[in-house]
Point group: C2
Chain length 299, copies 2
C-alpha cells in the first residue's frame, strides 16, 4: 500500500556544533519520504522553484520516490536557515524565505487520488485540507503541524483534526494546541478534539502513542553524536506511517512496531546533515538497529 | 539477600497542586526502604531526633524494615519543606533543618556488617564512605548523591565513585558531576570516573543504564495525575537495587528487569503524598503494573 505525502521541499542551510551545510535538500515532505520509502512506495506532493537543483529531483527518484506531483513553479524554492546550539534540542531560525511556497496549491495526478494512505506533513492547514478533500478513498490519514499554524490558523487546524486518523505533534505543539502542560493529558485533549490516535514526539526522550485504551511509549534510540536534528520529527513520522501503511490492521502490535520503526529511522537521520545519512541507509542497517533497540527495551 | 540502606529519615512538609501535607514520614532512606522491601529484607541506617513520632518507627517495622540501626539522638529530626508547581518536575526548597543529621555517624549492629548489598542513599559522602568502610563482605554497592555534595564535597564523592558498583544520579546531577551536557556522554564520563554501572534517572522521561557495552533505556510508566514526586528517585533506586539484591547474576536480563521494577515502583510513589501510596501497595499491584508496562514497551 503506497503512501502520499504533502509537505515542503526546501533548501536548508544549517549550522550545528558539527559544522555547517548550505542549501541542502530538506523540507518536511522530503524527510518523511526518505524515511517512509524504506517501507512502501511514496508519492511526494510539494512545490519547488525554477532554482531547485535538478540533482535533488534525480536523487529522490532514484530513492524510489514518485515525484509526479512535485510541481516546479516560477520563483524561488522555499529556503530555511537555522542553527542548533548546546544540547541541540531547539533550532534557532535565522531566516525563512517562502518563495513559491507562499502560493502553493497541491496538484496531483488522477491516479494518485486513489492512494489510500496519506500524510499531511507540516504546511498551511488550509492546503492540507484542500489536498485531503481531493482524495477518493482514504484508509489512513496522518497529520502534522507546527506552532506557527497553531497560533495563526488554529481554527483551520482544529477542523482538520476531526478528519484525520492520526495526529503527530512534538511536545511543545501538543501542549500549545491542547492547553495542557502534562503530556498524557495533552494527548487525551487532542483526541477529544477529534484525532482518534495521537503521537507525541519528545525528541531525545522518545515518543508515545495514545489510542483507544492503549498507551505505548518508547525512549529514543541512544545516539552518541547528534550531527543535525533537522527533520528528525518528519523522519520519525515517515517510519511510523510508512510501516502502518503496510500493516494489515491498526492493532496494538502494529502500532508498537510503527513507533519502533519511527524511532530507529529518526536515530539515523540525526547522525548526518540533512538527508546525508538517510541517503546511504540500507534495509540491513534498519533491521540491525531495530533488533538492538528491541533488545535494549524488552525485559 | 537482604540490603542495607544508609540515608536520611525526615519529616517532610510538601505542597503540590494536589494539596499540602505537614511533617510526613520521608527521607531518602525511607523512600528507598519502602520500595526495596517489596523485593528483599531491608535494614535502615539513619538518625532521627527525640521528636520523631513513634508511629513512624512502628510503621516501618510493620512494613518489614529492620530499624535496629535507626539511631535516636537528642535533638530534632531532619526536616525538609518544599513546593512543586506547574509541571512538578522541580522541587522548590522552602526550608531545610538538619537537626540531628548535622552530627550523624551511622552505627550498625555487628551482624549487619555482613550484609552484602548496600545502598548509600543521599547523605554527606564522608558519612557514606564511613559506613562502607565498616562493611565486611560487600557484593553490590549502589551510590546516590545530590547537587549540594557535588558542589561542596566533590573530591570525597569522586573518591567514593571508585568504590561502588552502581552510581545512580538524576539528569542534572549526572551533567554537573561529569561536565557533559549530553546524557549518554555524561554516563560514560561517570563510568570513567570509577563506577562500573551508571543509572541516570530522567523523571517523567524514564531512566537508562550504561554498563559495559550495554545501554538500556525505558520510559517512565505513564501516570496521569502526579500527586507528589518527592522520593520518586529513591523509590526507583529501591526497586532497582531491591530487585538486583535478589538476582543471581548481574547480567543484561537482570539489569533490564531491575530498571522496569524501579520504574513501576516510582510510578506508584508519585500517586500519593510521601509514602501514602507505597504504604498500601501490594505485590499484586506491582505485578499487574509491571505486566502493563512490559506490554506497552515490548514490540
Amino acid at each position: 500500500m503506497s503512501i502520499l505525502v504533502l509537505g515542503t521541499t526546501a533548501l536548508d542551510t544549517v549550522t550545528t556544533p558539527s559544522g555547517r551545510r548550505r542549501e541542502m535538500l530538506g523540507g518536511s515532505a522530503v524527510h518523511f519520504a526518505m524515511s517512509a520509502s524504506h517501507f512502501t512506495p511514496v508519492h511526494l506532493v510539494a512545490v519547488v522553484g525554477r532554482d531547485f537543483p535538478r540533482r535533488h529531483v534525480d536523487f529522490l527518484r532514484k530513492r524510489g520516490v514518485d515525484v509526479t506531483a512535485l510541481t516546479i513553479e516560477d520563483g524561488t524554492t522555499f529556503r530555511w536557515e537555522g542553527e542548533y546550539r548546546g544540547d541541540l534540542n531547539t533550532a534557532l531560525t535565522l531566516s525563512t524565505q517562502l518563495g513559491v511556497l507562499a502560493t502553493f496549491r497541491p496538484c496531483i495526478a488522477q491516479h494518485q487520488r486513489c492512494i489510500e494512505n496519506i500524510f499531511l506533513a507540516n504546511v498551511d492547514p488550509d492546503i492540507q485540507r484542500h489536498l485531503l478533500e481531493r482524495m477518493r478513498s482514504v484508509r489512513l490519514v496522518g497529520l502534522d503541524s507546527m506552532n506557527y499554524w497553531i497560533d495563526h490558523k488554529r481554527r483551520s487546524l482544529v477542523r482538520l483534526l476531526k478528519k484525520v486518523d492520526i495526529f503527530v505533534a512534538n511536545d511543545a505543539e501538543a501542549r500549545s494546541l491542547s492547553g495542557e502542560t502534562h503530556l498524557i493529558k495533552a494527548a487525551r485533549g487532542l483526541r477529544k478534539m477529534g484525532a482518534p490516535m495521537v503521537v507525541i514526539k519528545k525528541g531525545e526522550h522518545g515518543a508515545f502513542v495514545s489510542f483507544k485504551d492503549s498507551f505505548f511509549c518508547l525512549p529514543a534510540y541512544p545516539v552518541e553524536t547528534i550531527v543535525d536534528p533537522t527533520g528528525a520529527g518528519d523522519t520519525f513520522a515517515g517510519g511510523f506511517m510508512g510501516y502502518l501503511a503496510t500493516a494489515k490492521n491498526l492493532n496494538d502490535a502494529a502500532i508498537k512496531k510503527a513507533i519502533s520503526y519511527g524511532t530507529v529511522m529518526a536515530s539515523f537521520n540525526v547522525e548526518g546533515f540533512g538527508v546525508e545519512r538517510a541517503a546511504r541507509l540500507t534495509k540491513r542497517d534498519v533491521a540491525r538497529r531495530l533488533k538492538r533497540f528491541r533488545d535494549s527495551v524488552s525485559f
